[in-house]
Amino acid sequence: MAATTSAPAQHRPPRVSSAVPRGAARLLSVELRRNAMPWILPLIAALFWFDSYRPSTGTAPLYSLRTFWNMGQGHTIIDFGPFVAGVAAWMGSRDGRRGMADLVTATSRPHWAAQLTTWAATAIWAVAAYLVFVGIMFAMYARQGVGGAPPWWWVAVGAMAVAAFSAAGFAIGAYWPTRFAAPVAAFGGFLAMVTSSQTGFSHVNGWAQILPTNSNGNFGNPLTDAGIFYPWMPDVPIVRIMFLAGLAVAALGLTGLPARAGGRGLRRAAALIAIAGVALAGTAVGLTTTARLGPHGIVIPALHDAASDKAVTYTPSCDRAAGLPVCLNPAYRRWLPDVRDALAPLLVELSGLPGAPVRASQVAADNASSPPAITFGGHPPALRMSLGQLNLPGQCGFCRGPVASTQFADEMRLLTAHAFVGAGAGVGSPVQQAVQAVLLNAAGVPFAAQPRAIAAAENLPKPAPGTTGPVYAAARRLDALPVAARHAWLVAHLAAVRAGGLTLADLP
């Protein structure tokens, strides 16, 4: 067999080692320009607006409440995940669908590297869009004066979830390069999120803490003051990030296993990467089984940093009610007038009585602060308000409708009087109930309105309804005394009232 000519080839092989990273960057740039993900983003944006942002605006303007739905219960992930999985599957199946597999494989760059570049472009678009959408949402919250700190750890969980969905979808597309891969991956993603949501609602601890839609123990009442009085607890977000990263790494490792992916060494590395991903995800699940409920959220001992428990320092916002300072965390500044106006009439009544507060200060709502939301303590005594446990005036989100200022004032006065007479967490003795009724009546909550206020108050044990029983009869007797005489009786007998040593017959 003879060759046509014997002239040697003039081609000089390129210097590869230095060129590869820049070449990969250029390749990524091409993939970013021609990725399918941007086409789906308007749809995701619309869904995000209607499912994640709009419902949140119905809640009180605190980050802990605004993000309960979209971060805690994972609606931002639900909005992104299935679509991202579908588009990633579309991109993963591209070479097979388009009959490009031979052409791409016949190039010197390992096929797996080319695939990872395609995935990276897809994931970059998806994660960037997620961060931009969440960033815009937070910017709008900031313009609305939402108080507290954004839950950045939970944003990181969402971003990693989006990356994991893209990796899983891409792997499905790579292994099943048909036009059906995308809808199947999207539907699979949707099913995964539905399952995650349903399981998350019913499992408050244990392995189910790994589910990205499980808000139990980390969001909501009584953890309303997360990001306000104490930092967002990072323990659960860290294990979720580990879990999701493990899934993503495992899925991407799987795409490097087929023979055409590259050389034996590369495929061996891909197998090791897949195993490492599974191990990482498994470790994360194992860590969640050690989780326990701490005062500020779920604690995972192996990951817990004591710095996470340090209170956030702040300069309180103060006003005066009945001559006493009333101070709130600045995140609650907008409700300071409501609190001041609610407390003022009652503080006037309490003035001069034993144990009357010298100031009213807000305290954190957390897992350690059980009801009642208002207590007295310290020397000299201070009124301590855990406002995070209360429905604040305005939009509530999980109430039947907006909370009226009068409703809030009645509840504040009721809880304050309840605590002042020493009723504690129970309904109180009949005498304590009677004195409470007298104080409330004097503070602007008439006897007739009190049963309704008691019924409306959350986390407060309910005494027998109505105002016709012996308690209210005794209360009316005490209330009928001249103000000075009533005041003098209270000064003389309040310690006994608190100790539970009196009967209704002892009331004047």
Binding site: M1, A2, A3, T4, T5, S6, A7, P8, A9, Q10, H11, P13, P14, R15, V16, A19, V20, R22, G23, A24, A25, R26, L27, V30, R33, R34, A36, R94, D95, R98, G99, M100, A101, D102, L103, V104, T105, A106, T107, S108, R109, P110, A114, G262, G263, R264, G265, L266
Partner: protein
């Protein structure tokens, strides 16, 4: 020798697509002729390092493609146009060619010029920014050729490169082949014997997985003289005569 294969076979289950092919060739344009199912595409896919031979020796550009490192080095110097060219419809012509230049690990600073040159050589300069989905079949084929030559390959494998090209483009393409063959080994698989006559210095004819003729186009044409074989041109008559002889004596070789 850029291509040095010895007694190469390839089986797909019970089907033997290539049955003991031996071939040596250096720079120049090499035509691979044969009827459908003769094994041309399978042979080209082996030369493109996409599938390994079932048996036999294969050396390309002085390397054994059985090892991953040498295979990667071969692929860096390889240009390949498959019979069924897939494409990404959303890519422009320039992006498509650039994409493959980068997959072939060309130094990034050389890529823009190489892309422009390759596109000009296939006469698609005016459509460089056109999306592939908007191109005709012939233009797509030219875009495919552009990606194959963008890295100035030492071994260029073209499977039916002129399918869909109009006569004017085919003539231009033959000139391009002759130019490329000055320094690279160009193996062209085709049904169109006139392409072989116009561009190839060497030709092999495959039938049933075997090479039944290997020589120059003139020698192939000579095989048809006085045989009464069917065909409008000498090369076609030679092609028909060799095939007829091979079919009547399956073990015959050139």
């Amino acid at each position: 020798m850029n291509v040095d294969i010895s007694d190469v076979t390839r089986r797909f289950g019970r089907v033997q697509a290539v049955a003991g092919v031996s071939l040596e060739t250096g720079p120049g344009v090499f035509g691979l002729l044969g009827p459908n199912g003769a094994g041309k595409t399978t042979l080209l896919r082996m030369l493109a390092t996409l599938i390994p031979p079932s048996s036999g020796q294969l050396r390309l550009l002085g390397r054994d493609p059985g090892g991953y490192g040498p295979r990667r080095e071969i692929r860096r110097r390889l240009g390949y146009l498959p019979q069924n060219l897939g494409y990404y419809p959303g890519f422009t012509v320039a992006e498509f060619v650039e994409y493959f230049a980068l997959l072939k690990e060309m130094p990034p600073h050389r890529v823009p010029q190489a892309v422009a040159t390759a596109i000009e050589r296939v006469d698609l300069g005016g459509s460089a920014r056109a999306k592939l989905r908007s191109l005709s079949g012939g233009m797509l084929r030219r875009a495919g050729i552009a990606q194959a030559i963008v890295n100035e390959p030492e071994l260029l494998l073209l499977d039916e490169p002129t399918a869909g090209l109009d006569p004017e483009q085919r003539m231009t393409f033959r000139a391009l082949l002759r130019d490329l063959g000055q320094r690279a080994t160009v193996i062209v698989s085709t049904h169109l014997v006139e392409d072989v006559g116009a561009a190839c210095g060497e030709v092999a004819l495959m039938n049933a997985g075997k090479i039944v003729f290997h020589g120059t186009p003139d020698e192939l044409a000579g095989r048809g003289e006085g045989t009464g074989a069917a065909g409008d041109a000498p090369l076609e008559r030679g092609y028909s005569a060799v095939l007829a002889a091979a079919r009547s004596a399956p073990t015959a070789a050139a």
